[in-house]
Subunit: 204 residues, 2 copies
DNA sequence: CACTTTTTTAAACAAATGATTAAAAACTAA
DNA sequence: TTAGTTTTTAATCATTTGTTTAAAAAAGTG
């Protein structure tokens, strides 16, 4: 049974993704990426020209992974606000459970280079023009949602989902909680966060 | 009117704090710190021996700044749970409004070196043995609080306060919100977060 | 002042690191 | 097979960067 050989380019990208996410751009060593990929150092530049270009590719792909799946959830005209919140939470907890360091990776990058990649993706602009956002504004005008700045709602929803992934190393180091326990706790949040957010939407 | 001259050691620390917080350890250049401090490069090693030792000092001080003030809030035997939550939220929003990059700085550091500094401070352990935590357990046993894992509550409270500071560059880049508007929004959260958290504590 | 100690500076060092080169190896097509 | 192309490798380069050195300047001391 012949195992399909991963090609060199993909091996480099996989190694680069891991190391860039762990160490950041400045902390990553091209030699470490080459070693992890099991290739000669010169091949990295042969395929990608430079560390920076390789990083750009990894970061762009990571942004697409993170922002890509959510648009169709937000633009589903068949679902209510509550259903969208549930879908959003489940989608992201599932996604991040398999890629727990994406949030810190992206936030670090935006912090160093605020204009660099966001325009390439433009996902947050799309979210602002989504069907979900229209529903939200409408519910707000109908008095079903208190007239608070929608940015609070965005921050709360994203924060409740993402913050546990950002803070996991700190929580783990200070409580000694196991990976499995942490995963179970995240799983619980799929159910709890929508309930919490709905309660919060009643506060004025 | 003689302006008190800041001594060299303090100038280096101030410059180092800024640059380490902006660039991280790996991304920071000792030459940049020296230039920002307005001192000769060799003085950095004369006063602090190495980049690493300087970083350790800055990080320890930053952790103390972040975790220092909260213990006496949590151990105040005169205040209720609700009052402690209010005090906690106000304390941190005020603190971080003047030091907005502390959260990302600390989380990045714990991520690279999970055991390194937390023991030096041990603040999270203290929080777990605080009077506040006893009150929380008691309310839980009395049925005033649903029996959910307290880690949810911790994550929610800290996340609602801290996440807006972590995400500010991304929110700012994608919405174009001004610093003043963001500050106003954070100010609103002093009032809203305690209300939200109290509502969340009713969900089972 | 004379002397010692502390602080500061310019220069240099050594290691790390991103990138390049030139040749070898592997592969492809005629 | 052979000629040409692509991929891989070992070695090297050039720059950056943390650190050290030795001397000068400044500050302190008796």
């Amino acid at each position: 049974m012949a195992v399909k050989e991963k090609d060199t380019e993909q091996k480099i990208k996989d190694a680069a993704r891991t190391i860039f996410q762990e160490k950041g751009f400045a902390g990553a060593r091209t030699r470490d990426i080459a070693e992890k990929a099991g290739i000669n150092l010169a091949l990295l530049n042969y395929y990608f020209r430079s560390k920076q270009k390789l990083y750009d590719i990894i970061m762009t792909e990571t942004m697409q992974t993170f922002f890509g799946g959510v648009i169709k959830i937000l633009n589903d005209e068949q679902t209510s606000i509550e259903e969208k919140i549930e879908a959003f939470v489940t989608h992201y907890i599932d996604l991040l459970s398999g890629n727990a360091n994406i949030p810190h990776f992206i936030l670090s990058n935006v912090r160093e280079d605020p204009e660099g990649y966001l325009e390439k993706i433009g996902a947050l602009q799309k979210a602002k023009h989504s069907f979900f956002f229209q529903q939200f504004i409408q519910a707000s005008m109908e008095g079903k949602i208190p007239p608070i700045n929608p940015i609070h709602f965005i921050l709360n929803l994203i924060g409740l989902v993402v913050f546990p992934f950002l803070a996991k190393p700190m929580i783990a180091a200070s409580t000694g909680i196991s990976d499995q326990q942490y995963a179970d706790m995240l799983e619980e949040r799929k159910r709890l966060i929508p309930l919490w957010v709905n309660e919060m939407l009643k506060v004025k």
